[in-house]
C-alpha cells in the first residue's frame, strides 16, 4: 500500500509553504526519521522527516514550488515489496475536505487519519487550487506522549521562559513551595528567583505589579492560587489591563497572563467554588481561555504568553491530574479564538468548555449506545468566542445543548443560546437547552454539592429532550 506524503503544517497558522528542496530522489530507500525535504514557511525553514519506511516512489511536487497548500500530496512512498514505478499518482486520494472548524486530533484518529471523504480528482494543480483544507493543528504523524494537564501547563511556561527572557511567573507559593497545586513545580530550580517569584498574600497588589510590569515591557504570568482570590484583584484585570490599549489609542499594551484554577473544586464550599468564565468573557479588551485537555492547555498557554493582549487563562483543579495525549512537538502553539470538535456527530451538538468537555464526552458515549450521535464542541476560548464553529455545528445537527459548570444566569450558555436565536434560528429544530449548575452558592455537604453540580446524566437527559427522545 503506497503511503502519501502530504505538505505538513509546521505551525498552527501555516496554510501553505514553499517546497524549497528535496533531500531524497525517486528510488531512494528511506527510514523513519530521515530528512526528506526542506520546507519554507513565512517564518522559518523547517525539515520534513519521514515517519514511515519505504522507497520514494514518486516526487509529485518539484523542489522550488511556491505556495504549496497544506495537505497537498507532495510525494508517494512505496511500501516494502511494492514497485515504486507502479504507483499511479493520478489515483491518489485528494486531501481531505475538512469542515471550516478545525478537526480535532481525536476526530482525526477516529476517522482513520488518511481516509478521504473528498472526490478523487486528477492532477495536483486542481487539488491545490480548489481544495484548501484547514491546517490540522497537530501535523499528521506527530508522536504523542501521555501527559497530565498539570505537567502540560508547567512545560508551556518553562518552554516560553526558555524562549523569552521577558517571561516570568509570580504568585503565591509559585517558587519554593513549587506551586499550591504543583503547576509551577521545578521552575524555581531551572529559572531561579529572579523569574519565579513568590509574592506575599496580596492579590490586588501583585496583580497590579504584574500589570504594570507588562506595561513596562515584560511578559508576566500572574498565578492566582485560585480565581476566587482574583476577586480582590479584578480591578486591575479589568480597569488596568483590559482597557489600557483602547484608552491609549493603541499606544500602551499590556501582554499579561492571569492564570490559575477556576470553577468548583471538591468540597471547598461556596467561596472557593465559582466559575468566572462568564464574568471575564463579558469584558472587551480581554482574551479569555478555558482549555480542557493537556494538548489544548499547553498549546493555548504558550499562545497566551506570546499574545500581545491581556489574557485570563482559566484552568480547573479537578482536571490538573488527568492524563491526555500530548503531541511531542518542539513548539506546540494553538490558535486562540478557535473552538474544536472533540467528537463528531450528526444528531445533536453539545457545546461546552473546560471540565464540561469530559462530561459531554461521557454523555456522548451513553447516547451513542442508544443511537444518538452527538457532536461535542469544546469552545476552548470564551472571548473572542468562535461563533462560526457553533453555528456550523448547529447547521449540521439542528439541535443543541450547552453544558457549563457554572451558574445558568448570564452565562456562556445564555450567550450561546442568544447566538443561536439571532444567527441560527432557521437551523433550529428544537429549543437550545442548557445544563448548568444549580442556581445556588455551592454547598459543602457531599450530597448537596453533588446535587448542585452538573453531571453526565443531566447532559444525557437534556440531549434526549432536544432530540424528542425522552
Amino acid at each position: 500500500m503506497a503511503i502519501e506524503l502530504k505538505m505538513p503544517a509546521l505551525s498552527p497558522t501555516m496554510e501553505e509553504g514553499k517546497l524549497a528542496k528535496w533531500l531524497v530522489k525517486e528510488g531512494d530507500e528511506v527510514a523513519s526519521g530521515d530528512i526528506l525535504a526542506e520546507i519554507e514557511t513565512d517564518k522559518a525553514t523547517m525539515e520534513f522527516e519521514a515517519v514511515d519506511e519505504g522507497t520514494i516512489g514518486k516526487i509529485v511536487v518539484a523542489e522550488g514550488t511556491d505556495g504549496v497548500k497544506v495537505g497537498t500530496v507532495i510525494a508517494v512512498i512505496a511500501a516494502e515489496g511494492e514497485d515504486a514505478s507502479d504507483i499511479d499518482t493520478a489515483t491518489s486520494e485528494a486531501p481531505e475536505k475538512k469542515p471550516k472548524a478545525k478537526k480535532s486530533e481525536a476526530a482525526e484518529a477516529e476517522s482513520g487519519n488518511a481516509k478521504s471523504d473528498g472526490d478523487a480528482k486528477d492532477g495536483m494543480e486542481q487539488l491545490a487550487s480548489e481544495v484548501t483544507p484547514a491546517a490540522p493543528e497537530v501535523p499528521d504523524g506527530t508522536n504523542m506522549k501521555t501527559s497530565t494537564v498539570r505537567d502540560a501547563l508547567r512545560d508551556a511556561m518553562a518552554e516560553e521562559m526558555r524562549r523569552d527572557d521577558r517571561v516570568f511567573v509570580m504568585g503565591e507559593e509559585v517558587a519554593e513551595y513549587q506551586g499550591a497545586y504543583k503547576v509551577t513545580q521545578g521552575l524555581l530550580e531551572e529559572f531561579g528567583p529572579r523569574r519565579v517569584i513568590d509574592t506575599p498574600i496580596t492579590e490586588y497588589g501583585f496583580a497590579g505589579i504584574g500589570t504594570g510590569a507588562a506595561m513596562g515591557g515584560l511578559r508576566p504570568i500572574v498565578e492566582f492560587m485560585t480565581f476566587n482570590f482574583a476577586m480582590q484583584a479584578i480591578d486591575h484585570i479589568i480597569n488596568s489591563a483590559a482597557k489600557t490599549n483602547y484608552m491609549s489609542g493603541g499606544q500602551m499594551r499590556c501582554p499579561v497572563v492571569f492564570r490559575g484554577p477556576n470553577g468548583a473544586a471538591s468540597r471547598v464550599g461556596a467561596q472557593h467554588s465559582q466559575n468566572y468564565g462568564p464574568w471575564y468573557a463579558s469584558v472587551p479588551g480581554l482574551v479569555v481561555i478555558a482549555p480542557y485537555d493537556a494538548s489544548d492547555a499547553k498549546g493555548l498557554l504558550k499562545a497566551a504568553i506570546r499574545c500581545e493582549d491581556p489574557v485570563v487563562f482559566l484552568e480547573n483543579e479537578l482536571v490538573y491530574g488527568r492524563s491526555f495525549e500530548l503531541p511531542e512537538l518542539d513548539d506546540h502553539v494553538l490558535p486562540i479564538g478557535k473552538a474544536r470538535i472533540v467528537r463528531e456527530g450528526s444528531d445533536v451538538s453539545i457545546v461546552t468548555y473546560s471540565i464540561g468537555v469530559g462530561l459531554a464526552l461521557e454523555a456522548a458515549e451513553t447516547l451513542a449506545s442508544e443511537g444518538i450521535e452527538a457532536e461535542v464542541i469544546d469552545l476552548r476560548t470564551l472571548r473572542p468566542l468562535d461563533k462560526a464553529a457553533v453555528l456550523e455545528s448547529l447547521k449540521k445537527t439542528n439541535r443543541m445543548v450547552v453544558v457549563e459548570e457554572g451558574y445558568p444566569i448570564c452565562s456562556i450558555a445564555s450567550e450561546i443560546i442568544a447566538i443561536c436565536m439571532e444567527e441560527g434560528f432557521d437551523h433550529l429544530d428544537a429549543p437550545v437547552l442548557r445544563v448548568c449548575d444549580e442556581n445556588v452558592p455551592l454547598p459543602y455537604a457531599a450530597n448537596l454539592e453533588k446535587a448542585a453540580l452538573i453531571d453526565a446524566d443531566r447532559v444525557t437527559q437534556a440531549v434526549k429532550k432536544v432530540c424528542y427522545r425522552d
Binding site: T202, G205, G217, L218, M247, Q251, M252, P284, D309
Partner: protein, 357 residues
C-alpha cells in the same frame, strides 16, 4: 488559642542605625533644602510651570464652553511638584505614572500641549485618539504611563514599572504620583510592602493638596503626616515643600540617588495646594475663599520663582515676553483642539485588542 512562647528577651527595637536609615534622606534635605539653579535653569522651570498654569486655565475655559466633557481635574497650584521632580529624571530611561489629575505631569515631560488639549476635546489628533479623555492619557515614547482613573491603581502599576526596570537592570527609576486621598487605599500598602521587600527602584510621591475631593486631610486620615506612612514597611520618608520648585528639585535628587543606588523605594510627601475645585463640578463648600486666597498670595510657586528670577537680574519685560509666548502656545493648542476633527466612527472598534483572533 495557642499559648505564645514566652521569651525573656526584649522585643527587638530598631537600632539607632536603622532609625537613621529611615530618616537620613530627610536629614540630608534639611541640611540643604534648595537646589542651586542657574538663571537659565530657573527660567526654564518658570516657563514650564507657567505653561501648566496657562494650559489649565484654558482647559477650564474650554470646559465652560462645553468643548471638554466629563471629568476634568486641574493642576493649578501644584505646578512646582511635577516640574521640580521630573526635571531631575533621565529622559528616555525613567518612567512616570500618575492618577487622573495628569495634565501637568505630561506638560512637565515636554509632551506637546496640542495633542493633550485635543485629547481633552475628544478629537482624533488627541494623544489617545480621543478615546481616553482627560484622565486616560499615555505617552510610552516619553516614559509616561498614564493617566489612571481608579484612585490608587497607579501605585501597584508604578511598582510594576519599577519591577521591570530592576528586572532588565536598565538603571531606570519610576515616579508614582498619588494624592492624599489615594494614600488611604489598601492597594497602596500592598505595593509599599512588595516594593520595599524587593527593593524596587520607585519613588512614591504623595501630592498632598490637602483635600481628597471635599474631605480635608484631617477629616480622612488618622496619620496626616503622609511621609511617615512608609515606616511600617521600612521605606524612608521625606517631607517636602511642594510650593517651591527648587526644594522639590533638591528632594528629587536626594531620593533618586538613593533609589537608583539599589536601596529600594522612597516615600515623599509634597505639601501643595489645589486652587481650583477637585473637578469642574466642585461646589467648593468645604473650604473658605480666604483660605485659597491666602495660599495664592503667600505661597504661589510661580510668583515665588518670578521674584527669585528678578533678584537674579532677569528683567520684568523679558518675563512678560515669556508669558506672552506661553499664552500663544496655549492659544495654538486650544485652536488645534477645537479645529481637529472628531475621531472617525470606525475608531469605535479599533484598539480593543492588539491581535486578530
Amino acid at each position: 488559642m495557642p499559648k505564645a512562647a514566652k521569651s525573656d528577651e526584649q522585643p527587638v527595637l530598631s537600632t539607632e542605625d536603622e532609625e537613621f536609615a529611615l530618616h537620613n534622606l530627610q536629614d540630608a534635605l534639611s541640611a540643604d533644602r534648595r537646589y542651586k539653579a542657574s538663571k537659565e535653569e530657573l527660567l526654564h522651570f518658570y516657563e514650564q510651570m507657567l505653561l501648566i498654569r496657562r494650559f489649565e486655565e484654558k482647559a477650564g475655559q474650554l470646559y465652560g464652553l462645553g468643548l471638554i466633557g466629563g471629568f476634568c481635574h486641574l493642576y493649578i497650584g501644584q505646578e512646582a511638584v511635577a516640574v521640580g521632580l521630573q526635571s531631575a529624571l533621565k529622559g528616555g530611561l525613567d518612567s512616570v505614572i500618575t492618577g487622573y489629575r495628569d495634565h501637568g505631569h505630561m506638560l512637565a515631560y515636554g509632551i506637546d500641549p496640542k495633542v493633550i488639549m485635543a485629547e481633552l476635546t475628544g478629537r482624533q489628533s488627541g494623544i489617545s485618539k480621543g478615546k481616553g479623555g482627560s484622565m486616560h492619557m499615555f505617552s510610552v515614547e516619553h516614559g509616561f504611563y498614564g493617566g489612571h482613573g481608579i484612585v490608587g491603581a497607579q501605585v501597584p502599576l508604578g511598582s510594576g514599572l519599577a519591577f521591570a526596570h530592576k528586572y532588565r537592570e536598565d538603571g531606570g527609576v519610576t515616579l508614582a504620583y498619588f494624592g492624599d486621598g489615594a494614600s488611604n487605599q489598601g492597594q497602596v500598602y500592598e505595593a509599599f510592602n512588595m516594593a520595599s521587600l524587593w527593593k524596587l527602584p520607585i519613588i512614591f510621591v504623595i501630592e498632598n493638596n490637602q483635600y481628597a475631593m471635599g474631605t480635608s486631610v484631617k477629616r480622612g486620615s488618622a496619620e496626616t503626616h503622609f511621609y511617615r506612612r512608609g515606616t511600617a514597611f521600612r521605606i524612608p520618608g521625606m517631607d517636602v515643600n511642594g510650593m517651591d520648585v527648587l526644594e522639590v528639585r533638591k528632594a528629587a535628587e536626594i531620593a533618586i540617588e538613593f533609589v537608583r543606588g539599589g536601596n529600594g523605594p522612597v516615600l515623599m510627601e509634597l505639601n501643595t495646594y489645589r486652587y481650583r475645585g477637585h473637578s469642574m463640578s466642585d461646589p467648593a463648600k468645604y473650604r473658605t475663599r480666604d483660605e485659597v486666597q491666602d495660599v495664592r498670595t503667600k505661597r504661589d510657586p510661580i510668583e515665588h520663582a518670578k521674584t527669585e528670577l528678578i533678584e537674579m537680574g532677569v528683567s520684568e519685560a523679558s518675563l512678560k515676553e515669556l508669558d506672552k509666548s506661553v499664552r500663544a502656545t496655549v492659544a495654538q493648542a486650544a485652536d488645534f483642539a477645537e479645529s481637529s476633527p472628531e475621531p472617525d466612527l470606525s475608531e469605535l472598534y479599533t484598539d480593543v485588542l492588539v491581535e486578530q483572533y
